[in-house]
């Protein structure tokens, strides 16, 4: 059992590191990420929605990185768990790539 947990932990760490490296390298597809962000996040994070209105320019790149590094601490962590690794990379590419202090801040949500 301990051995299994250890393997699982190693896999988890490996996944986190892999996603982190991929994010740092900007491997996601921002175009797809924009679509996924609207479909997955903007259902709640919208003006007059059930959660705070969010767009890429709501945060700095550093702040978005903190969010993506700590999705398990978010209130909507269950929604994040439904997303694939690729989906998360794509959403990251959109939000981080068009953040408040990014070279190309988003004009629309």
């Amino acid at each position: 059992m301990t051995k299994k947990l250890g393997v699982a932990a190693i896999i988890m760490v490996f996944m986190v590191v892999t996603i982190g490296v991929a994010m740092a390298e900007g491997k996601g597809n921002a175009r797809k990420g924009k679509y996924l962000f609207r479909k997955s996040c903007r259902t709640c994070h919208i003006e007059d929605g059930s959660a705070k209105d969010l767009s890429p320019v709501s945060k700095t790149q550093a702040d978005w990185q903190i969010i993506f590094d700590n999705t398990s601490k978010l209130q909507c962590k269950e929604e994040w768990e439904k997303l694939s690794e690729k989906d998360i990379l794509d959403i990251h590419a959109h939000l981080w790539g068009h953040a408040f202090d990014s070279p190309s801040p988003a004009k629309c949500k």
Binding site: A30, Y35, E47, Q61, D101, A106
Partner: protein
């Protein structure tokens, strides 16, 4: 997603039908007076006279106006005194807007090309025929080349947002604006220094250095008027320009700087301010990043060094630096607007931004400001995603830091011609004329000739429309309902404006909103345009009812309150959260983190550098055919200094050849001391190919035909001052 086949007919059948129905239609109108202006309804009763608020569209400034209407005919346009941005004024171009509306050269109905591209043979279509044909092409190209195989380009217009929305719903992210032929490198530079593009408070500024900008001719409201007012209040204006413009004529000091050396001038200014410790130490410490690096960096750029580069005496550079610092923080390097000049135009503008930061004029009266703004609501669409689309824009990676939502005309055009990284075979343009504004016209023609289909929506038969396969007539700004538009301007005059039809749309013209909505219906995308412009405006106004009231009562909503001292303690939108003298993102990308001066290319023997500019009565190519404005300038000329002209035996008014690696034109010479001996100049907007522009066809030369298409390395902005030409007698 597929097109609704029942609503379309095949191209073959369509052509058979339309060929049988109509012969080739002439574009030019033999009748020079419009029926609308000849209606005689007898005596006018008071209830037939109306005064209607609107916003000018003769350039991008959107000045407030009041249209005087009699019997549904606009008799004249007056300034709206409520419009703080336009300071209750309307310029000559604004007054001439009536002639854009009542122009016999206007496009009147949809036209389909019948001969070779550019031959000017057209066939009149009904709107249903035209829209069915366009939808069929959009569907076909989308299926064959992916949705990104269709390119969209929309100019500065209050309805351009709908073109962007249509492109998104259709599935193409290849959307470009006019801005990469204009100001993107300026925006890039200030964004990468301040995290925002500030507006200059010219009105309260005590000392303005204006490099290149020609604010008394290339009008920007309120800056043009404010600069004049400030001059009356003893503000000092120093102009750096190789041409003796009207702005130079009214300046306190004019320096005909050697073209391409502005950065050397401002690095020299920075050297003096830093070495003589003329800056505000607290401001530098609290609000800036990389001062020590900058201090070290500019040690090499002494005024004596800058003098050799710029041909401006070192003593003047030193004196100006001291005077600027003495007037700070009410002193500025005017950021300017069009910055499409050199391959390092972003870095040149970074040097402006850096000197402004040394003057500590951020958020100060008479400095660079980001005034309060009001954000109208919006109506977003949940656009679908097309899995077969490529990962990125067609021009991605061709510039170091391109704006994703603007793109680059130069790089997109190259990519379309090369067919790399993927083919683009369709193009829709709205309210933009790259055939005249994009350097290297032959290349634009080459690009168009690689396309399967091109459609243009415009008011008149521009050169771009002339090359299109399908031309759709749009109403002028005085005939249509637009969404709200918020604008930022310094000195307490930001606000919101909108337009409603002053008179009904003439001919068969239809607004681009209606056109994309009809196309969406035909492409099974109707759900994304299930609203009216009125619905859109209601969404915009939902949380700002005070704006609706002001627009109705005053024709404009002005934001009042101070426009400075409102960002105290707030972080800058940069990586360091401060004003960045040193840009770490640039360093990470292999870009010089501070501007490093590189000498402009040496002008080859017997050549001249050609530069671009404007006068007060033309807006690039959009207004040269306007019958009132055309009275002021019937054709453009080549400005050439007497020294080389005499040496070559060229007389004033004589026709000359102007030749570059891009092309050759003939134009009349204007021999004048108002330009440097090594620099020639001509206005934009003449030498048209379109026979549908009857006033200017056959007049003057097209500058886009001789400009070579270089680009700013960082932003992808066109670089239009990198061209050398020969001038010879014909």
């Amino acid at each position: 997603m597929s097109a609704t086949k029942t609503q379309m007919i095949s191209r073959r059948k369509f052509l058979q039908l339309s060929g049988a129905l109509a012969a080739t239609t002439a574009v030019t109108n033999p009748y020079r007076v419009l029926y609308a202006l000849t209606r005689d309804k007898g005596e006018i009763t008071p209830d037939e006279i109306r005064e209607v608020f609107s916003a000018c569209d003769m350039c991008f400034n959107k000045c407030g106006l009041i249209a005087h209407v009699e019997n549904d005919v606009i008799k004249k346009l007056d300034p709206n005194p409520n419009s703080l941005k336009s300071r209750g004024m309307l310029c000559a171009r604004g007054n001439a807007g009536v002639k854009q509306l009542y122009d016999p050269d206007r496009l009147k109905y949809p036209l389909l090309r019948k001969g070779a591209r550019g031959d000017g043979k057209w066939q009149r279509l009904s709107w249903d025929q035209a829209l069915d044909h366009a939808a069929e092409q959009l569907d076909k190209i989308g299926k064959e080349y992916t949705r990104c195989g269709f390119l969209f380009m929309a100019g500065t217009d209050m309805q351009s947002t709908f073109v962007h929305q249509f492109a998104e719903a259709y599935g193409s992210y290849n959307v470009i604006s006019h801005e990469s032929n204009c100001l993107l490198s300026r925006n890039r530079a200030f964004l990468d220094t301040y995290g925002v593009m500030p507006t200059p408070d010219v009105l309260n500024c005590k000392y303005v250095i204006m490099p290149g900008s020609n604010r008394f001719e290339a009008l920007v409201t309120p800056d043009s008027m404010d600069l004049m007012t400030a001059k009356g209040n003893k503000s000092k204006l120093v102009v750096l320009d190789p041409r003796f413009t009207k702005t130079a004529a009214l300046a306190d000091e004019w320096y005909p700087i050697k073209p391409g050396t502005d950065m050397a001038f401002f690095l020299g200014i920075a050297h003096v301010i830093i070495s003589e410790e003329l800056y505000d130490e607290t401001f530098i410490k609290e609000k800036t990043f990389g001062f020590e690096e900058l201090k070290e960096h500019v040690k090499q750029y002494t005024p004596q060094w800058a003098a050799k580069e710029t041909e401006i005496p070192a003593k003047d550079i030193t004196r100006i630096a001291r005077e600027l610092a003495s007037a700070a923080p009410s002193a500025m390097v005017y950021p300017g607007r069009r910055s499409s000049d050199y391959e390092d135009s972003t870095q040149i503008r970074r040097s402006y931004a850096i000197v402004n930061a040394l003057l500590g004029n951020w958020d100060q009266k008479g400095g660079l400001q980001v005034p309060k703004k009001i954000k109208p609501g919006s109506m977003h669409i949940e656009a679908p995603f097309y899995e077969d689309n490529p990962d990125d824009r067609v021009d991605a990676g061709r510039a170091q830091m391109m704006f994703d939502e603007e793109g680059s005309f130069k790089h997109t055009r190259d990519a379309v011609i090369e067919g790399k990284p993927y083919p683009i075979k369709g193009w829709m343009t709205y309210k933009t004329n790259p055939m005249q504004t994009g350097a290297n016209r032959d290349k634009t023609i080459e690009m168009i000739n690689t396309l399967d289909f091109m459609m243009t929506v415009d008011i008149a038969m521009s050169d771009t429309a002339w090359m299109a396969d399908l031309v759709l007539p749009a109403p002028s700004y005085l005939e249509r309902q637009d969404p709200l538009s918020a604008f930022l301007a310094a000195s307490t005059c930001s606000g919101v404006i909108t337009r409603d039809p002053v008179v009904p749309a003439m001919f068969e013209s239809k607004p681009v909103f209606w056109i994309v909505k009809e196309l969406a219906k035909r492409l099974d995308l109707g759900e994304f345009f299930d609203f009216t412009v009125d619905d859109f405006r209601k969404a915009q106004l939902k949380k700002i009812p005070q704006v609706a009231k002001a627009l109705k009562e005053d024709g404009v909503y002005n934001i009042t309150g101070p426009s400075f001292g409102i960002h105290k303690g707030k972080p800058f939108k940069t990586r360091s959260k401060k004003i960045e003298f040193y840009n770490t993102r640039y360093k990470d990308k292999g870009i010089d983190p501070m501007p490093v001066y590189k000498q402009p290319k040496t002008i080859p023997e017997n050549h001249f550098r050609i530069v671009v500019g404007r006068n007060a009565y033309v807006t690039q190519s959009a207004s040269t055919n306007n019958s009132l404005l055309w009275e002021l300038e019937k054709e453009n000329t080549l400005w050439i200094h007497p020294k080389p002209a005499i040496a070559m035996g060229i007389k004033n008014g004589e026709t000359v050849f102007v030749k570059s690696l891009a092309g050759k034109v003939t134009i009349k010479a204007r021999v004048t001391k108002e330009t440097r001996p090594d620099t020639v100049y001509m206005d934009t907007g003449f030498g048209v190919l379109s026979k549908g522009l009857t006033n200017i066809f056959g007049k003057g030369a097209c500058i886009a035909q001789v400009l070579e298409d270089k680009a700013d390395k960082i932003s992808g902005n066109m670089a239009m001052h990198e061209t050398f030409v020969t001038v010879t007698k014909t």
